[in-house]
């Protein structure tokens, strides 16, 4: 029997099933549920027919807001937004920035507490891993994707979109990428951008170049395996080759440092665990290279005592203090 030999009763059943799908789709469907259940119970072939029609009903593409659920904003909407922005800009003459801020408000993407790590997918398909003790906000407009790293560290995997730049704002710097993988860390004395893949441009942020004359920072680029460090004291960008595996290695649970001040190292570790570690002032700029596992930080501290002229003092909940030996002797 071929498909086309379908019995009249089958067609009638599908017809009924289709009617039920429509009726159950109406706002007051609850009232007819009993009738529908009776219809389903009256013949064992009714429910399969209903399911067939329900699948068909759902298989049509969704176009209205109630049914759109995985879709991105329709292109037409974006253009409408751009056009509206244009008109508003002309009308307000300079009020455009404020208007845009209202139209596309900055929203919190995620914030993590100590020891907490999160993976987030953004609306454009870009992904980010947020390290412990970090916070990221974002503002997406039709023309740009702007992220703000307010504290801590994040690793970004940017979805390529040539006409819509992806910029991370951090400590007055603008880190711009087009389809790259890179890590950004905001530390106490410096900001570190490490590139795993692609190319990243680091430039002074808009507010900085306008507000702080005389301290113009030149922009610089980093490729895969390179690191750009911006020191807030020297106000300079320093490029270093450190290898591409270092960027974002913290996601696997290992913190990798290449010639970084102890102050930065400890600040990073502190985002993972309690009690906090405090570095004495004379050791803060001491450079450290190596890996640290936050779970085994005691081992690291023991090793530290051997490598540097320092002493580790555990004061319980008050913290763990790394002090210079000479300093200790002088005080005693």
């Amino acid at each position: 029997m071929s498909r086309s030999d379908r019995k009249i009763s089958d067609v009638a059943r599908l017809r009924d099933a289709s009617e039920w799908v429509q009726r159950l789709n109406e706002p007051d469907a609850e009232a007819i549920v009993d009738d529908w259940l009776r219809w389903c119970a009256s013949d064992s072939r009714n429910l399969p027919a209903f399911e067939q029609m329900q699948r068909l009903w759902n298989a049509f593409p969704a176009q209205n807001p109630h049914t759109l659920h995985t879709g991105r904003p329709v292109t037409a909407l974006k253009y409408r937004g751009t056009l509206a922005a244009l008109i508003a800009g002309v009308a307000l003459l300079g009020g455009l920035a404020g208007w845009l801020a209202l139209r596309y408000p900055q929203v919190l993407v995620a914030d993590t507490s100590i020891g907490e790590q999160r993976h987030v997918v953004l609306a454009d398909g870009s992904q980010l891993d947020l390290a412990p003790g970090s916070e990221v906000s974002a503002r997406f407009t039709p023309a740009r994707r702007e992220i703000e790293l307010k504290r801590g560290q994040a690793f970004f995997s940017v979805a390529p979109h040539a006409l819509r730049p992806f910029t991370v704002h951090v400590n007055g710097l603008s880190v711009t990428a087009a389809g790259s993988e890179f890590d950004v860390r905001s530390g106490p004395g410096s900001t570190v951008v490490t590139v795993r893949a692609g190319l990243v441009n680091v430039a002074p942020g808009a507010s900085q170049s306008a507000g702080q004359t005389g301290t113009v920072v030149e922009s610089a680029q980093a490729r895969a395996g390179q690191r750009l460090t911006f020191s807030s004291s020297t106000r300079r960008l320093v490029l270093a080759n450190i290898g591409s595996t270092a960027a974002g290695s913290w996601r696997g649970g290992t913190l990798e440092f290449v010639g970084e001040p102890l102050e930065e190292v400890v600040e990073t570790i502190n985002r993972y665990r309690q009690p906090q570690i405090v570095v004495g002032p004379e050791l803060q700029q001491t450079r450290f290279t190596g890996t640290v596992s936050p779970a085994e930080v005691r081992d690291w501290l023991t090793a530290l005592e051997k490598i540097y002229a320092c002493k580790v003092v555990d004061r319980g909940a008050a913290g763990i203090f790394i002090q210079a030996r000479a300093y200790n002797i002088a005080r005693n």
């Binding site: 009617e19 429509q22 399911e51 659920h69 993976h119 987030v120 997406f140």
Partner: protein, 201 residues
């Protein structure tokens, strides 16, 4: 799956306080009506995966009832809870859509977004199926196409479609039913002329 895991535990807890009849009543309801409930919810939510999730949630709520009462009333209550949960989901979805439309991004936790709709292969399949169905729609009389696309694709209520196109609601229902039947048979592989001979408006 969290809800599914929670169910037996909830059951045990309730059984300690309530007569065994309660647990039995709910599990019987589940056996006899789960497929129906999922079918009902799938129509409203337009996603079977979400329908299953909401159904689970509804059973869990039901188990929190102090007294099971009459089986027919319990069933009615189950559908009532499910309807409300579905409405909540749809509302949430609308908010989400609006946010996306305004260019805001909505963070999605990767671990919790294990939905069928996020599977690229499935998405591709769904898109292909959708474009095929839209192709079948083109074969229908113009008026029928217009009615169906207004109602199903643009989400205009049938009453409103009737008003706009100046025909009776009964006619709108018949057009929509015909379009569904037609597309269903066509997607089963029945030739267009065969379908037309077999199915009348």
């Amino acid at each position: 799956m969290a809800d599914a895991d929670r169910r037996p535990a909830q059951l045990c807890e309730d059984m300690a306080v309530l007569p065994e009849a309660t647990a039995t009543a709910v599990s019987q309801l589940f056996r006899e009506h789960n497929r129906l409930l999922v079918g009902y919810l799938a129509v409203r939510l337009r996603s079977e995966q979400e329908a299953k999730e909401v159904a689970q949630e509804a059973y869990v709520r039901l188990l929190q009832l102090k007294e099971p009462g009459d089986p027919v009333l319990l069933r009615a209550y189950l559908f009532k809870i499910a309807t409300h949960l579905a409405i909540d989901r749809l509302r949430h979805r609308t908010v989400r859509h609006r946010a996306e439309e305004q260019g805001m991004l909505l963070p999605v936790e990767v671990d919790t977004s294990n939905r069928e709709s996020d599977d690229p292969a499935r998405q591709l399949l769904a898109r292909e199926q959708a474009s095929q169905l839209l192709g079948y729609l083109q074969e229908l009389p113009v008026k029928c196409q217009r009615v169906f696309s207004l109602h199903r694709l643009d989400g205009v209520p049938q009453r409103e479609v009737a008003r706009r196109l100046r025909c009776s609601e009964r006619m709108v229902r018949r057009y929509v039913t015909y379009a569904m039947l037609y597309c269903s048979l066509r997607s089963e592989g029945v030739a267009a002329d065969q379908v037309r001979r077999k199915v009348s408006l």
